[in-house]
């Protein structure tokens, strides 16, 4: 039993990667820049606006996780794994519409059966807008 415990302990310690100090430091600035870009001014917004932005964030994260290979049902399922409270499929479809109108996703590329709004042609075939340098 003790030997078995030691073996699994060793494997757990040895096989999970750790970030270098340089990685942590360079990621710190990049992520902060992205947060500043995407969340500026949101702290003073009404709660209702924050809730919609939270759902949009969950949907965007779900689409990133799925790497563009999405269905509405997949996105809904992932969002409900990420969210602290249940989301209705209606919340998800509305959020996808908002993200499409903002030009943050290409509805046409992600969901070809839905007609695309104007101005989506500049997005990639995987449906995700490229981050600005």
């Amino acid at each position: 039993m003790k030997r078995e415990k030691k073996n699994i302990d060793d494997i757990l310690k040895r096989h999970l990667p750790s970030a270098s100090r340089e990685d942590v430091e360079s990621a710190r600035g990049r992520v902060l820049d992205r947060l500043r870009q995407s969340l500026a001014g949101i702290e003073t917004a009404p709660d209702a606006v924050k809730r919609l932005r939270l759902i949009d964030e969950e949907v965007r994260t779900a689409i990133r996780m799925l790497e563009g290979k999405v269905t509405l049902h997949h996105v809904w399922t992932v969002v409900n794994e990420l969210a602290d409270e249940p989301r209705e499929i209606h919340d998800i479809s509305l959020s996808i519409g908002r993200l499409g109108r903002k030009g943050l996703i290409s509805i046409q590329a992600l969901f070809p059966e839905i007609p695309a709004p104007q101005g989506q042609e500049r997005l990639g075939r995987d449906g995700l807008a490229e981050e600005k340098p």
């Binding site: 494997i11 096989h15 799925l66 981050e131």
Partner: protein
């Protein structure tokens, strides 16, 4: 994960309180995500998601309750969610005939992949305890304080998790 751009709609910045909180906790969140995902890009995406969620849902300047535990739990949960969904999508995309048999896999790669999959299969709060214990090196008492459980409860949970992980990665008796 591929990043999605978002325009700066407000032209304002984040509050000094939030930026200070970010500076104090970024490493905790990023390192936890990296431990599970092993990719700088994915760990950055998880970090961005965790702090975005914090500012939109839970951030209250001056009185965050057990903030470190919340951030750590959310980072681990999100990272494990990535692992689970990547696995599902890869399985759907894989030509079953092209799968290598276990004998042809490199041992270390096999164990690392299986280990992360195994941790991802645990309930999020149990996965968090496993990572706190074996990756961060916390004692049972420290974990109990961190997650708000009793020391005995943590010890029993970790014992059960260890058995399950061993079964999952099919570790032969006496292997090191």
């Amino acid at each position: 994960m591929k990043r999605i751009a978002e325009p700066n709609i407000g032209g304002q910045s984040l509050s000094p309180e939030f930026e200070r909180l970010y500076e104090e906790n970024h490493q905790l969140v990023y390192s936890a995500a990296y431990r599970v995902l092993g990719s700088t890009e994915d760990a950055e995406d998880v970090t961005q998601h965790v702090f975005t969620k914090l500012i939109l849902q839970h951030f209250s300047p001056g009185k965050p309750k057990n903030l470190k535990a919340y951030l750590y739990r959310t980072a681990i949960h999100t990272a494990l969610c990535v692992v689970r969904w990547r696995g599902r999508m890869e399985f759907l995309d894989t030509d079953i005939e092209a799968l290598p048999d276990s004998a042809s896999m490199i041992q270390d790669h096999h164990i690392s992949g299986s280990l992360v999959d195994a941790i991802a299969s645990l309930k999020p709060e149990i996965a968090q305890m496993v990572i706190l214990r074996y990756v961060e090196g916390l004692t049972d008492v420290e974990i109990a304080r961190f997650v708000g459980r009793s020391r005995v409860g943590v010890a029993m949970t970790l014992s059960r998790a260890r058995k399950r992980l061993k079964r999952w990665i099919d570790l032969p008796e006496g292997a090191n």
